[in-house]
């Protein structure tokens, strides 16, 4: 064994779109926008809080001075752990260098897993998505891929979370129409964690809410942000910015608006409860000017998301990014290209949570088959972003000299050991043409459908481990929520 000094290793590839100077310049743009232009906040209580803390409030407009932004950034935690409800297992670390991929929230439609037809999202779909995600090794956290159509509409968010959390061990990112519904979901989280104290120690979900571009925090969004911060629930506060429509057509301008509107949530959360976990980011894409579609497959989505990840990393904020989504109406090679492009870019950029894996039809239809395809792509990308290990053993000079010109490595011990580290595809076909032909000439889409249905049929998830009492308590929460809605 030889010893080296002064040796630098790239554990993983280094990828960047922005120089330090460019990041500084964009951040100064955010500071100026918050200070000079400001944002509208449609919530009196929040405006009072901001006014008390050195912000300038003028009607609904709130202008946030640089020092308040600085203080908020300084109090965002460098790391937060989110747990599985099922035991004390640590599932997600919100910290630099860790990327978790998952589906997204709230499309109205879903691709039926039996008929493959597009139809409104139903309650049973939430369970399917939770179980499929539970089984997929490269999916790190779970969102629903829909908003349930066949329950009381005002409570579809609560039903979704109640069903999903019982069907996956993975961390769930939920959403809600209102603060009342967040409170229901919080109660469900507490039941699953085994009590209020247990939930505080081991939070088992992240809450997702959205400001509106440009530069508007509506009553419900900022209200939910306020509630989560008060109760130290990890949260995401991110807009869906439409380049050329709700934000400027230039990427730098778009990201300045996006970050400025999310910073309102960051400032509010840190004023209320310094050190509470908040991620920003969101969907950053463009309005296709020829088709007037908010594109989920455009390369600009990936480019801006990667640049945003770098900008946030520069100021110490975790990034909620986007990938694995498509503009297609039916899975085809376009879905695959757009998903591969966005997943690989998000992975290289090192975003923390990456959502919308399984979004199709530009965010109109959830498709868990797409999620299953994305899982395979994430595996490939992770291998590439794992980098090359360079040391005496991997350099293999001894083996190369032993095998010599014209030999082969098939029976070398070194090969036996390292072969196993090669990536093993589950959906990629590497047969000979003859074997492929003999096995029925399946396309990847055929294999995706088969794999998904196998999981749905055979992977039960943790539902049988949910205590009976917990199930009853959750039902009570749902019943009283129904009561509340009826009485309105």
């Amino acid at each position: 064994m030889t010893f080296r000094t002064n040796y630098t290793v790239n554990r993983t590839p280094r990828f960047s779109l922005l120089s330090e100077d460019q990041k500084a310049r964009m951040f100064r743009g955010v500071i100026k926008t918050l200070n000079d232009t400001g944002a509208n906040v449609h919530h009196e209580g929040v405006r009072e809080l901001l006014a008390k803390n050195r912000c300038k409030v003028d009607g609904k407009r709130v202008r946030i001075p640089p020092e308040v932004v600085r203080d908020a950034l300084a109090s965002v935690p460098p790391t937060t752990t989110i747990y599985s409800w099922d035991g004390d297992e640590e599932m997600c670390y919100v910290e630099p260098g860790r990327s978790y991929f998952g589906p997204g929230p709230t499309p109205p439609n879903f691709i039926d897993t039996d008929t493959l037809e597009r139809r409104p999202y139903q309650r049973k779909d939430a369970t399917i998505v939770a179980r499929v995600c539970d089984a997929l090794p490269n999916i790190g956290y779970v969102q629903s891929l829909g908003s349930i159509d066949d329950v009381t509409h005002a409570l579809s968010d609560v039903y979704e979370f109640a069903d999903m959390i019982q069907n996956t061990r993975k961390v769930i990112m939920n959403w809600a129409f209102s603060v009342e519904n967040v409170m229901d979901e919080h109660r469900i989280g507490i039941v699953m964690a085994g009590g209020e104290e247990a939930f505080k120690r081991h939070p088992n979900f992240i809450h997702y809410s959205e400001p509106i571009s440009p530069l508007t925090s509506d009553f419900d969004a900022i209200g939910k942000c306020y509630y989560c911060a008060q109760h130290r629930i990890p949260q995401v506060y991110t807009p869906c910015c439409i380049g050329g429509a709700t934000v400027p057509a230039t990427h730098a301008g778009q990201l300045i608006v996006a970050m400025s509107e999310s910073m309102v949530g960051v400032v509010v959360s840190q004023l209320l409860n310094p050190g509470t976990c908040i991620l920003i980011g969101g969907v950053q894409s463009i309005l296709d000017m020829r088709r007037t579609i908010y594109s989920y497959g455009a390369p600009e989505l990936s480019i801006m998301s990667a640049a945003y990840t770098e900008l946030l990393n520069y100021v110490g904020l975790p990034m909620y990014s986007t990938s694995g989504c498509t503009d297609t109406k039916r899975m085809d090679i376009q879905s695959a290209i757009e998903a591969a492009y966005s997943i690989h870019t998000a992975m290289m950029s090192g975003a923390n949570f990456v959502h919308d894996n399984g979004y199709t039809e530009s965010g109109i239809t959830g498709d868990v088959f797409q999620t299953v395809m994305d899982d395979e792509i994430i595996g490939m990308s992770r291998l590439i972003c794992g980098g090359v290990e360079v040391n005496e053993e991997t350099l293999a000079v001894e083996e190369i000299c032993n095998v010599g010109p014209g030999g082969h490595y098939l029976y070398e011990d070194h090969t036996m050991k390292w072969f196993r580290k090669h990536w093993q595809p589950t959906l990629m076909d590497r047969n000979s043409y003859e074997d492929w032909d003999a096995q029925g000439r399946l396309t990847m889409k055929d294999r995706i459908i088969k794999k998904t249905r196998d999981i749905i049929e055979n992977h039960e998830g943790p539902v049988s481990r949910v205590p009976e009492d917990a199930k009853k308590d959750i039902q009570k929460i749902l019943d009283s929520a129904e009561e509340r809605v009826r009485s309105k």
């Binding site: 990828f15 922005l18 120089s19 330090e20 964009m26 743009g29 000079d36 509208n40 440009p214 530069l215 508007t216 429509a245 709700t246 934000v247 400027p248 057509a249 230039t250 730098a252 301008g253 088709r291 579609i293 455009a298 600009e300 801006m304 503009d327 109406k329 085809d332 090679i333 376009q334 290209i337 757009e338 591969a340 690989h344 290289m348 792509i377 990308s381 291998l383 590439i384 794992g386 090359v388 290990e389 040391n391 053993e393 991997t394 350099l395 293999a396 190369i400 000299c401 010599g404 010109p405 014209g406 490595y409 090969t415 390292w418 072969f419 090669h422 076909d429 590497r430 492929w436 396309t443």
Partner: protein
Amino acid sequence: MKSVMPDMQPMNQTVQETPQFRVLTEDQIEQIYFAALDVLERVGSRVHHDEALELFRNSGEAVVGDDKRVRVPASLVERALKNYPRKITLQGRNGKRSVALQKDHVYFGTGSDLPFTYDRKTGERRRTTYKDVVDAGRIVDYLPNFDFFMSHGIVGDAPNPQTYDRHQFMAMLEGCTKPMVVTSVDGEGLEDLWKMACVFQGGEEEFRLSPMFVAYIEPISPLTNDITAVEKLLFAAEKGIPAMYTPCPSSGATAPATIAGMLVQSLAETLLAIALCHLKKPGMPLIMGGVTTVMDMRTTTYSYGAPEMSLASAANTDVSKWLNLIMFSTGGCSDSKCLDEQAAIESTISNLTAFLSGANLVHDVGYIDSGVNASLESLVMNDEIIGMVRQMGKGVRTDEEYLALKEIDEVGPGGEYVTHDHTYEHWREWFLPKLMDRSDWETWNNEGAKSMSDRVNEETQRILDTHEPLPIDDDARKALKEIIDAAEKRHSK
């Protein structure tokens, strides 16, 4: 006026015009390089070519064994390395110097010699023919994101396997006017192809300044150089023809199962050629290369879709840049037997990684079936993918106009940008898809509910029906025919 950046020229600013991507540190590259030098000193490489062995013997530095094994000291390799050009500009028969091989310039092109073609009428695969190569050439000639052409298919209907390369090159020239990378049977074959190219470039001397092609040459891993490969190398060195010496190691079979080990061996194979060509004639335009991938454990397939291929190729490109050598890399290829989601994913991941790595020539774009089957549709699909990949190369601009602080303040909270001049001025900088569908559900259904495969198929047919490359004039055609006929005559016995 508020909220506007002061009008100033920033001082001492670093701007990234394009993305930065790097797999290895300089320290890691050095470890791989020193290990490769060690391999050449300890075990060396076998060279089945008398003149080459003689050159090594006479060098006074290399040691030649009875088993034709050549061991080369670091001193010779390092001296040789200092003598290779860092720039080669290729000129197609259209007269355009369109491929400038120099640091961080990335060009995409096809692969070569696929025995089978996916028949567009029957959907079955069949032997590749002369016409298939012409058609692939026409497609590449048309597609804006393809910069160079390799034959894609092999001319399976040539009269004689010993001279098929001349016919193949003729088919390539008929179909495509862009710069090329060519394969040849042996040294004599390369000489004929070079003479054919000189017909267009205006002779041997002009070819040296404006070469039309790069000769593709490969050693046999591990560490073996067969007679035809060395013939071609030495001929290219003598005439100043750009050539690449590009190993195709299979990690776990013909190379170590670790990526670092595969790169060490592959580099040792390259460095042997570096030393040999230097002994023959210093300064030839030699290009480093490699299809560095894994053998699939279950099927023993040499994988063209494995993520390890992308990772190892990007790492290898890091090594090439450190050595100041031009790099020939791999992308846009797949193990899938048909143009499905797998082909799309593998093509996208490998194209994107190769582009970001900054490899100069990215070949094998359009390969399906692990380098066995040719598909014209795959070329058309990849053209769109490369377009998307190149969009990332534009990076994110951060000058005042792009920060748009003035517009953000003007529009304010709750406003819109659709009707703003700033939007009108900049949206055309976005990627404009040709084959990607971005319609809504109703429009898509009204337009026939087509898949991208349908659109790719239609576009392929449209190009084949309409695109005619610049014709070859009669004089040139006659000169080419003479070269081919002479070769046939020599080999007719």
